[in-house]
């Protein structure tokens, strides 16, 4: 147990990066994901198909490959980018496709009469989508978005492979240095992730119940 107390400030400081990646990831993925969902639902073929291909291909590749690929690609082009920024970009590229599917389900759950009525009042497709359908869809998506956030918290631990000093990276290196207490240190990591993710998913379930009217 001493290993935990001695390294506690060092390990917990990594949560800054964990939450940073998750927050940046969810924020930008929300906009990119919404755009992808609208494109995918668009009746215009040359907007629809590229979105479908992007979503399906990205979803069939593991996140860790994007983390490596984007990091080495940007470094290879000669730009100096922090591993944190590059991991955040990878998370946005990856998570936006999952959010796109959440948003798409949200939009499809809105009665088609809403769109028809909005169009009938003379709004264009884009304006009807933006002013009538999306505001209603977003409210229904909140629980799913919160649970996506817990997924991003868990997946952000993958950023350790390019050396982002996030929480699990710090526990991992501490464990490699101490060597004698793997269960205490890794159990501590498990406990911290569990507390964060469980409370978030509990909150998401409450939101779902409250919205279920």
């Amino acid at each position: 147990m001493d290993a935990i107390w001695e390294n506690l400030p060092y390990m917990l400081a990594g949560l800054k990066y964990t939450f940073g990646i998750a927050a940046i990831g969810i924020f930008f993925s929300f906009f990119l994901g919404t755009l992808l969902a609208v494109l995918r639902l668009s009746p215009i073929k040359w907007l629809h198909y590229p979105a479908v291909v992007y979503i399906e291909v990205v979803r069939s590749v593991p996140l860790i490959l994007f983390i490596f690929f984007i990091y080495f690609l940007i470094a290879g082009m000669g730009y100096n980018i922090s591993s944190f920024a590059s991991a955040s970009v990878a998370v946005v590229v990856f998570i936006s496709t999952y959010i796109a599917e959440i948003v798409r389900a949200g939009i499809l759950s809105i009665d088609s009469g809403q769109m028809e009525a909005a169009r009938a009042t003379g709004l264009s497709y884009a304006r009807a989508m933006r002013l009538v359908v999306l505001p209603q869809a977003v409210r229904r998506m909140v629980p799913a978005l919160v649970s996506e956030f817990t997924i991003v918290i868990k997946e952000s631990s993958l950023a350790m492979v390019i050396g982002v000093p996030e929480f699990f990276n710090r526990v991992f290196t501490t464990n490699a240095r101490v060597l004698t207490e793997p269960f205490a240190l890794l159990g501590f990591a498990a406990f911290v992730y569990f507390v964060i993710c469980f409370s978030l998913s509990w909150w998401s379930r409450r939101l779902e119940i409250r919205m279920d009217v």
Binding site: R59, L65, F72, F168, F183
Partner: protein
């Protein structure tokens, strides 16, 4: 950035590295899928049991699945590799297997299973709960035992219902195998990393592995879709009205 040198992935050395990585990735996927299906099914059957005496088992299973689900895969992997497989007693136990597979490989399978089985259990549980109680009562009334009812009446229907969501979980297992390079298992991602660090061909090294992963995952879900429609044709009934079931898609 230098020009593309296709030789790094198509030359004999590159091909050999990618093929050996693919072999590891596929083996991990298959073992992970088989064992997490078995574990998930057992957990689900425990959780839907109704006997009052089994209540502690149900609480235990509910707790374990909740804990396993809320912990990142990397933590599972590290606990198995540095924790459980660090014991001498465990080594004695895995001795016959380590002749064929490294300890890290075995730890990876364990981690894939403990991470994924809770999701698979949820899939089976919702499948089991979707079978109307009346069917179980009717089967028992005809004189079948509880086990015969499960095996002959309930489970065959459950398998048909759960195939699409189960397919998503299987694709998830395949994608999850990509993290094992953290403990040094030479899977596809590891090989891409190796090729890149020697040749600096980022596009080709990672692009090739992305394409392979994409193909494997899409093939997996296509296979599950074929299986689902085959079972529907064979046994299709009222519960399985055409179009009532979403097609399997690729997910996390």
């Amino acid at each position: 950035m230098e020009g593309l040198d296709w030789n790094v992935i198509l030359g004999p050395e590159g091909r050999h590295m990618l093929a050996s990585g693919l072999a590891i990735t596929l083996q991990l996927s298959v073992y992970g899928i088989v064992f997490s299906t078995l574990a998930g099914l057992l957990i689900a059957m425990g959780r839907v049991s109704t006997a009052p005496a089994l209540a502690p088992l149900r609480w235990f299973l509910a707790g374990v699945t909740e804990v396993c689900r809320n912990i990142p895969l990397l933590v599972h992997l590290a606990v198995w590799n540095f924790g459980v497989f660090g014991f001498a007693a465990v080594h004695a136990f895995t001795e016959p297997l380590t002749a064929f597979y490294s300890t890290q490989f075995l730890a990876s399978i364990c981690a894939l299973v403990t991470y994924r089985c809770s999701y698979v259990a949820e899939v089976f549980r919702s499948g089991l709960q979707s079978i109307p109680k009346g069917q179980i009562e009717a089967a028992m009334a005809t004189g079948l035992s509880y086990r015969a009812t499960m095996r002959r009446v309930v489970l065959p229907q459950v398998f048909r219902i759960v195939i699409p969501p189960l397919g998503n979980q299987y694709v998830g297992v395949t994608k999850n195998t990509s993290v094992v390079l953290v403990i040094g298992v030479p899977d596809l991602v590891f090989q891409a990393y190796q090729i890149e660090s020697v040749t600096f061909q980022v596009f080709l090294a990672f692009g090739a592995v992305m394409a392979i992963f994409s193909l494997v995952c899409l093939a997996e879900s296509a296979l599950l879709n074929v299986l689902a429609s085959h079972l529907d044709r064979r046994w299709g009934g009222a519960a399985m009205a055409k179009g009532a079931r979403p097609a399997a898609t690729v997910t996390a």
